[in-house]
């Protein structure tokens, strides 16, 4: 899909990732601008995390990654050596993982792990790095940061650990923060706190935030722009306002139907669901990846699918016209 973001921090064009007989990502494109939150949404197995790891070039060996370009601040990451990539990781591009319980090394104190990143990229002294760590712990809302610095991960709760992970990601003032389902492993109240924190930091620091989630509620509250991924493709993208106002791809509609809406969804009324699971896409697959689960599928869907413009930045990957909802309703 064509990125319509002017001067993006990160722009990915036509990313393809495959391993063995599976195409995990098929021509994914997206762009994240400075100070913008871009959400990648989709079920498990849609290629969201794989896309994020491809940007970092952290895919396990034996996995093929190709793209027209993966550009970060004008530099193409595709041609970079491992050493150059390592210099960017944790410095200009930081990442937060899903599982705060296992993302911290149990063998070291919080302070030691946080300052290590800073020492590595900034060649700073330990004391300086510790000061920076304490400052950031305070910033992510941890009281008594001095005490926390000396503690081990097992002494911290899940929410605290995720705050530590966020603080750690911010140690070197990154331009781009990739958060891979940062709140999935946390309970609901803590989720809300962490999201609020991420949003606040993103606005204050002018970060480009690439947020991976399967929760459209998170998208509505956090993002300016979203890409709905299905079976390795971006099936619908646009600003959050556009897509939520007129969800056009049947998959996006299906996802939105799964969410209870206060005041609209009646008690006892079944919520929508999308039957089936995300298919494994073999090489040489043609047509719409969603057609086996789509209620509106026709034989046409087995042919190559057009990219349609729905006005503004909003476009989607389906044979249906932008106003099909109104057409079928009428």
């Amino acid at each position: 899909m064509r990125p319509l973001v002017p001067d993006p921090v990160l722009s990915v064009a036509n990313l393809r990732v495959s391993f063995g007989q599976t195409e995990a990502v098929r021509g994914m494109s997206l762009a994240v601008a400075r100070g913008e939150t871009h959400c990648m949404v989709g079920e498990s197995g849609c290629g969201k995390s794989v896309s994020a790891l491809s940007v970092m070039n952290l895919l396990p060996r034996g996995i093929n990654r190709t793209a027209d370009h993966i550009r970060f601040q004008g530099q193409d990451l595709l041609g970079m050596s491992e050493r150059q990539m390592a210099r960017l990781r944790g410095d200009k591009i930081a990442m937060i993982f899903q599982e705060p319980m296992t993302s911290l090394n149990p063998a070291y104190t919080i302070g030691s792990q946080m300052s290590e990143v800073f020492e590595r990229h900034r060649r700073a002294a330990r004391s300086q790095a510790m000061d920076r760590a304490a400052e950031l712990l305070a910033r992510v809302g941890i009281t008594a940061p001095g005490m926390r610095l000396g503690q081990y991960p097992h002494q911290l709760s899940g929410g605290l650990r995720q705050r530590v992970m966020i603080a750690m990601a911010l140690m070197c003032d990154p331009e781009l923060l990739i958060a891979d389902e940062p709140t999935t492993a946390l309970d609901v109240t803590v989720q809300a706190q962490i999201l609020r924190l991420l949003q606040k930091l993103q606005q204050e620091l002018g970060l480009a935030l690439l947020l991976i989630t399967h929760d459209l509620g998170v998208v509505a509250r956090m993002a300016q722009r979203l890409s709905v991924m299905y079976a390795g493709e971006v099936v619908e993208t646009g600003t959050v306002a556009e897509v939520f106002a007129a969800p056009t791809h049947p998959y996006t509609r299906g996802l939105l139907d799964c969410i209870p809406v206060p005041g609209k969804t009646q008690t006892g009324e079944p919520l929508g669901n999308i039957p089936g699971v995300v298919p494994r896409i073999p090489p040489g697959f043609v047509g719409c990846g969603f057609r086996d689960r789509c209620t509106l599928a026709t034989p046409e869907c087995a042919e190559s699918v057009p990219l349609r413009d729905a006005g503004g930045d909003h476009c989607y990957l389906c044979r249906l016209p932008p106003d099909w909802k109104r057409a079928t309703a009428a």
């Binding site: 034996g62 960017l88 990781r89 993982f97 993302s103 090394n105 290590e116 990229h121």
Partner: protein, 297 residues
Amino acid sequence: MSAVVIAQDVIKQQLPARRRLPAFRHLATLLGALIVGAALLVAIFAPYLTPHDPFAQDLNLRLIPPVWMDGSQPTHLLGTDQIGRDYLSRLIYGARISMLIGVLTVITSGVIGITLGVIGGFYGGRTDDVVMFLITCRLSIPLILVALTVVALVGSSLAVVILTLGLLLWDRFAVVARTTTMQVRNLDYIAAAQAAGASRLHILVREVLPNIANHLVVVATLEMALAILLEAALSFLGLGVPPPLPSWGLMIAEAKEYMFFSPWVIMTPGVVLFVLVLGINLLGDGLRDLLGADLRR
């Protein structure tokens, strides 16, 4: 209802046993630590502890029994050997040799085995195949036989024994390091470290190694006990530490001709060897439990 009662009974029966076990374990660990600590101290301060020169012979004072037997001499607490050397002094210097062999062998084999195991476990694939092949090769080498051959060819000296054992005893380190690394490799903090720009070497040394160290410590104790026993066995066969160095194995070998009339000459070094190896194993067991609990947190 009855199931609940039975369950309560079972719990009641099990509770005291459960309570007693850690206390006993604790005691055993403590005992092991005491034995190993004492052996280390004795080994380090041997010259200050020995009442006599362990090499000084006195043919007039051959095979004097220890103090608790008839015909003993108060100056030789544990008696003398067949050429009149003070037995206590020789045992103390023997501790030096045993501990030296134990520690240096563990360091040599540990470095080899842990390096191979961590690399194989972390990288997997072809690299792991090579490591596994090396481990299999090593396991198919008959240890005592090769050690005997090497010593017979190169000649026996302390350094040769240490090197031979060190180069042969790394397999358990490699196996344990490999499997534990495989478990740690896929944990999120390794991915997080990569995402934070850590180099491969940094990840292996600083992220993986500290998290498998507790398993390796246990292996180290086992290997140390094994090395000490092997040295004794080699020395007993006359192909270990050369005389007149006071190795416990050598002392047992030299004493075997006198065991019928002076059984203490063979029993004393035997008992000391047994106690030290037992101590090391108790310590190893205890460490495994202690560090295992540490992991479970």
